[in-house]
């Protein structure tokens, strides 16, 4: 049986580079066609609701902006054990923190969590309300797309590149783009 795979972009599109995860998911969703075992989703900032998206699947490939010691635009890959190593926050989860490690632990309690996880972390530069992506984050997005595709190659999952217009983020500042209803 084919593995069930979810590719999920995490982050708030209203907060500058924090929206880079949903942006990468948007590129993948609009410019590629995947095998039917793959779901591509903009997961926003789901907090513990992430459990619902992590349950009943075999592999999760998540793209998220991260804060680490790397330079803005760096792409760092993390696996399940890296994420679980840090454990939950000082107290139980909030509905608003992305709660990735908490959600994974809860999904594992039910025995329905993914066995494999790849977190593609993009080091952001600025998180101002309504700001455009930094140049560093935008460059990293291309690299993140390649990371997702090579993970699919490793898993033996097929996909094709579609001949479409390049994806543009609907939430860009007014001067840059006009939002359209998806």
């Amino acid at each position: 049986m084919k593995k069930k795979i979810t590719i999920g972009g995490i982050g708030s599109v209203l907060l500058g580079d924090d929206g880079i995860g949903p942006y990468v998911a948007g590129i993948l969703d609009s410019e590629y066609q995947f095998d039917e075992c793959v779901t591509v989703a903009d997961l926003g900032t789901p907090g513990l609701d992430l459990v619902a998206h992590l349950s009943g699947i075999d592999v999760a490939i998540l793209i998220d902006s991260v804060k680490n010691d790397a330079a803005p635009g760096a792409v760092t890959l993390y696996r399940k054990e890296d994420i679980l190593r840090y454990g939950p926050g000082p107290m139980r989860v909030s509905p608003h923190s992305p709660a990735l490690s908490e959600s994974l632990m809860v999904a594992d309690l039910t025995g329905e969590g993914p066995t494999e996880i790849l977190l593609i972390g993009i080091t952001g530069e600025q998180y101002e309300v309504g700001a455009e992506f930094s140049a560093a984050a935008k460059r990293a997005a291309i690299q993140a797309v390649e990371s997702v595709l090579s993970e699919l190659d490793r898993l033996g999952v097929s996909y094709t590149k579609l001949r479409t217009e390049p994806y543009s983020a609907w939430w860009n500042p007014i001067a840059e783009a006009h939002p359209t209803i998806a």
């Binding site: 900032t45 619902a52 790397a70 107290m91 809860v106 309690l109």
Partner: protein, 566 residues
């Protein structure tokens, strides 16, 4: 790979709530609720097309996505006086109900049950005795000895590993934890089962809204779900039957598990019906409209002042003139410029950060007030406002809850006990039971209307020139949400969202009156001030929609504990 990562960037969190309490003689004698982050997110809407606003507002919060989408389209419809076709009302209502059921289940089990349930007592439980107890309380078929034993084994495995993982930060063994090992086990088994049922509720949102967490099917004037009972690509009878099945499974979980657990846990902590009342002014708006022009609703709204239930003032509509005229936001203790309370349409958001100053400004949250008074919002407000008006569905489940608590605790629990920390949990369960019953009603209303041949889903909006304003409200899982829009020449001129957690987490106002979180914490006894579990219980009972950091100080101001309350 040794770099330390934070997977929760600070920008991700909608706003950190910090609670400072002063403790003297093991009781809280003063409290401050403050939000430590400013976002001013509404500003990005200025100049945009009002028809697109809901797509942006739905991103205000990663958990309360649909509620901000709904309030937004309603604000534009209110400004245009645009009726919404019955099919669209019912589809929206089903989404709102499914989302709320999901939210209430997650809140009780995943976000607050472990304030009352001691995980580390579970290995001592006798699964057979726990099963007998469960079966004496409910006809639920998943309270068998084997199922409870399996849940117990999960805890034993986690405990044996030496890594408590998800449970590593609880106040296990705290003297305020008092349930028997068997009750702890039953509640934990339901914690795991709850995950399956909250997912079923989300599936309904996804089927009607086409995606979660961000629904795609709204439009100003209605919805975009094509209705064709025989087509697989539209809202078909097949899909509707799947939705009905999912909703009935969720309803069964609510009635046989969630409602029962809340009554049982409450009955075992009866002193918490006397703690945590705080602000007893209550506000709720009517919701679940029954017709195109929203003249009748299935959830009543209104206002109760100073716990005077007999003096309830009902709202006729969800954008009642009295409501529109009575809401202001005060910034006396908030990090904003401004000297007098402003009506939201005229709202300003000019930051003036001073740092946390106890007697001056200390929060990024404004202080919404109703006729100048702080108001508590949330399921408790909605239940009390409905109960006061004699609303039959509210009375049915509220009375049932009070009877169950009375029977287990061998006390006489009257509606007055609801002004409390446990009252907020009880009211949420009562509301969930009401919504589960209404889900079936609104499903039938939708199918009946479609069967009559009405396939209309939207009344397209038209924008004239000139300026107009509207308010869109929704009685969201956490309480009254209102979006206030000013439209000028077809573009957004001003936009303000007054959200439930702002009402509840508001700082003091110009009169020095505490906001609901603050007031509810006063006089709370603390068994161990360095482990302020009791503060966490009360803050959690509001279902706060912010990550919050709770600092405990002794009366001399020395910090004795810094705890994140989440």
């Amino acid at each position: 790979m040794s770099t330390r990562i934070t997977i929760d960037p600070i920008t991700r969190i909608e706003g950190h709530l910090r609670v400072d309490v002063e403790v003297e003689n093991n009781a809280v004698n003063n409290a401050w609720a403050s939000c430590t982050m400013w976002r001013g997110i509404e500003t990005i809407l200025r100049g945009r097309d009002p028809r697109d606003a809901w797509m942006f507002t739905q991103r205000f919060c990663g958990v309360c996505t649909t509620v901000h989408a709904m309030a937004s389209v309603r604000s534009v419809e209110d400004a245009l006086k645009l009726p919404v076709p019955p099919n669209a009302q019912y589809v929206r209502n089903l989404i709102l109900i499914a989302h709320a059921l999901h939210d209430h289940i997650v809140h009780f089990y995943q976000l607050s049950a472990l304030d009352w349930v001691d995980i580390l007592q579970i290995p001592k439980a006798d699964p057979a005795a726990a099963s007998r107890l469960g079966e004496s309380l409910s006809p639920w078929t998943h309270n068998s000895r084997n199922e409870l034993k399996a849940a117990q084994d999960k805890v034993k495995a986690v405990a044996a590993s030496g890594q408590l993982g998800i449970f590593q930060n609880g106040y296990w063994g705290h003297p305020a934890m008092r349930l028997s090992p068997e009750v702890n086990l039953l509640a934990f088994a339901h914690y795991i089962q709850a995950l399956e049922y909250q997912r079923k509720a989300l599936q309904v949102v996804a089927m009607l809204g086409s995606k979660t967490p961000h629904i795609q099917n709204l439009q100003v004037g209605g919805v975009s779900n094509a209705i064709d009972l025989n087509s697989q690509s539209a809202l078909s009878m097949d899909k509707l039957e799947q939705i009905r099945l999912l909703l009935s499974e969720v309803a069964q979980f609510i009635n046989q598990v969630y409602f029962v657990d809340v009554c049982a846990v409450a009955a075992m902590y009866p002193e918490w019906f006397k703690i945590g009342s705080g602000v007893t002014n209550y506000l709720a708006v009517p919701d679940l409209p029954l017709d195109s022009e929203a003249k009748a609703y299935d959830l009543p709204g209104g206002v109760i002042m100073q716990a005077n239930i007999a003096g309830v003032q009902p709202f006729k509509t969800a954008s009642d003139a009295v409501f529109r005229e009575s809401v202001t936001e005060d910034v006396t203790h908030s990090y904003y410029e401004g000297s007098k309370p402003l009506q939201p349409w005229a709202g300003e958001t000019e930051p003036q950060f001073t740092g946390w100053t106890a007697d001056k400004k200390y929060s990024w949250v404004k202080s919404p007030r109703y006729k100048g008074q702080p108001m508590q919002v949330g399921p408790l407000s909605q239940v009390l406002v409905g109960y006061a008006q004699g609303h039959p569905l509210t009375r049915k489940y509220a009375d049932q809850c009070l009877q169950q608590v009375s029977a287990i605790a061998k006390v006489n629990a009257t509606p007055a006990v609801l002004h409390s920390t446990l009252g907020r949990h009880a009211a949420r369960a009562i509301r969930a039971a009401m919504l589960a019953e209404l889900a079936d009603k609104h499903w039938n209303l939708l199918v009946t209307n479609i069967s009559k041949g009405d396939l209309t889903i939207c009344n397209p909006p038209e924008f004239g020139s000139g300026e107009t304003e509207g308010v869109g409200t929704h009685e969201a899982p956490r309480g009254t949400l209102s979006h206030w829009i000013v439209i000028k020449d077809g573009k957004i001129k001003n936009y303000q969202a007054v959200v439930p957690s702002t009402w509840n987490a508001s700082p003091r106002d110009e009169n020095g009156a505490h906001g609901p979180y603050e007031a509810s914490l006063l006089h709370t006894p603390l068994a161990r001030p360095q482990e302020p579990l009791e503060v966490i219980r009360t803050v959690h009972s509001f279902d706060p929609c912010m990550a919050c950091a709770c600092h405990t100080f002794d009366a001399s101001g020395k910090q004795i504990a810094s705890v994140k309350v989440l």
